[in-house]
Amino acid sequence: MTARDLMQGWLQRQLPPEHWQWLEERNAAGAATPEKDLFITLGLIPRKLGKADLDLTADDLAAAERVQPGWSPQGWSVDGTARVLTLLQTVAGRNDFPERFRQLCRTADVAEAIAFYRGLILYPSPEALEPQAAEGVRSNMRAIFEAVAHNNPYPRLYFDESRWNHMVLKALFVDSRLHPIQGLDERANAELAQMLRDYAHERWAAGRPVSPELWRCVGPFAQDEAALADLDQAARSSDPNEQAAAALALSVSPSPLAAERLAAMHELAAQIADGTLTWDVLSARLDAA
């Protein structure tokens, strides 16, 4: 079973037979599909197949995780799935795919770009697509940025530290969220923690709010007094979510001075100790806000 098999199964199940057959016929020539035909297929897909959300069961999601760890097709659409499948059935196996992929992204409309980037992990030799994935993160269109950054294992696996750090910082910058970024804790690093603290200082100086999520990547590197002082400031916030974030960050700080600070936040410390306050819990609260 491959990702391609799964996507074929999902589309075949959801689409009327004549629509599914149309897609099969368009891609029947495989790698020999002429370029013009490929572009026309990609353009016609939403016109022919519609833009409904892809209907997926828990079993489908589990199957996706088995064939490609981290692959999360939840929230994919019919047209987006058909476009990724089309690339897999035609150009993805070709030696010149990285260049073709660059061209496809360069001329993509918004929905196409989202689909292409969501599929990054599914194409052969995904490491060769890294420069284009980075281009996606540079987009000013938040939904395109999130197609790479959110619910996508690609950045965690293929971005170097600098690329990774700038992606995390940009997520905050464009009012996006950190929680859907895969590998957030595993790829936290001292450089990123410093960048995020500097960013928090800029926000404070401008009188603007600081996302509670920011402290998640700071906590494990909050070692010296200056870093702890930043967490103190977050803890003094009038926003309960920011206080909770400060407490969570303190709970993983390597500094011996962090423990007593956390202990002073009695209730939050107790919630962390008994597992009722976690980043997942806090993130759900931010989602609801």
């Binding site: 013009k36 572009f39 026309i40 990609l42 353009g43 016609l44 939403p46 016109r47 833009k51 959300d53 659409s77 360069r106 001329t107 993509a108 409309d109 918004v110 929905a111 196409e112 770009a113 989202i114 000013n140 269109m141 938040r142 939904a143 999130e146 464009v174 009012d175």
Partner: protein, 312 residues
């Protein structure tokens, strides 16, 4: 009373600022169509063209969404640049990859500028492309030698077998309207100060011809032009006694009917956008219209709204 909804079916938003989008949304413009056009400076590389077309199907569409305005576009090689044969050949190669993007409602604006043989060649080639892809066409009629250029444009469309009801002939005036309507085409008017149509003249035409197959647009671009030309014309028409139903046709419904034939534009897009479009095109600001009543931003100051009602 809710503010009436308007469509500006010819607006080069790539040349306009966020102030324009804000003012248009406040005035009731719910959707714009951005025709691919000449950007003032000739393009000399196909790459520049690719980036331009990518911008109007991508970034500009997204940008409009941030102001609660739905953005559509037309794709084509304009008549001026058709005279650069090397460029024109390369642009013709890449048009098929843009013509079916999300929100592309026609091939356009295409037609004649100086009516040269090269303009004729690429006008015809693009009519064939529209036929192949089953898309409506937006025709730019020439500024100079307009009457004959307009007749000739329609002759060529008929010669290529496109049905006139899928073709919008734009930049009409008092001299061209009768023939355009008589031959069954959509007749669009660009309310553009100085060179094209003024809105007082437009109101007179509505009195004389009614609103069947009449479309009002602004053609606002990098020149001295007015992004509020459609709502201003509607307001002037109402003041001068044109029935609301006719104003609705000329400033909203006819454009929707003509370009809606692409299958890419429907009222649902702004009255009840699909969840997917909300996630992708309206991300960022919570400025969704939500329901049938168009969202009214903070009202523009009365001085701003009344200012320059007459466009000459």
């Amino acid at each position: 009373m809710t503010t009436p909804m308007y469509i500006d079916p010819h607006a080069h938003m790539i040349s306009r600022t966020t102030n324009d989008y804000e003012a248009m949304a406040a005035a009731g413009v719910v959707a714009v169509i951005e025709p691919a056009f000449w950007i003032g400076q000739p393009r000399t590389y196909v790459g520049t063209y690719i980036d331009y077309l990518s911008t109007i199907v991508g970034w500009e569409r997204f940008r409009a969404g941030q102001f609660g305005i739905r953005h559509y576009c037309t794709i084509g090689l304009n008549s001026k640049e058709a005279n650069n044969e090397e460029l024109a050949e390369q642009v013709m190669e890449i048009l098929p990859r843009f013509a079916l993007k999300d929100g592309v409602v026609a091939i356009g604006e295409i037609g004649y500028d100086e009516q040269t043989p090269l303009e004729d060649k690429y006008f015809r080639a693009q009519l064939e492309l529209a036929k192949e892809l089953d898309l409506p066409v937006m025709i730019h009629t020439p500024h100079r030698d307009k009457k004959r250029g307009t007749s000739r444009s329609m002759d060529v469309v008929e010669e290529h077998g496109l049905p006139p009801d899928k073709v919008v002939v734009d930049h009409n005036n008092e001299e061209t309207i009768a023939e355009t309507l008589q031959r069954g085409f959509w007749a669009a008017f660009s309310i553009y100060p100085g060179s094209k149509m003024g809105n007082e003249r437009m109101v007179e035409l509505l009195k004389q011809y009614g609103a069947e197959r009449i479309i009002v647009d602004s053609a606002c671009d990098w020149g001295v032009s007015d992004s509020l030309a459609v709502p201003k014309t509607a307001k002037l028409a109402a003041e001068r006694g044109i029935p609301q139903e006719q104003i609705h046709k000329a400033c909203y419904a006819n454009a929707l009917a003509a370009y809606g034939q692409s299958g890419q534009m429907s009222e649902e897009d702004w009255l009840n956008p699909s969840p997917i479009d909300q996630r992708t095109l309206y991300a960022g600001n919570s400025i969704l219209r939500g329901g049938a009543a168009p969202r009214i931003e903070e009202p523009v100051s009365p001085a701003q709204a009344e200012d320059k009602l007459i466009i000459r």
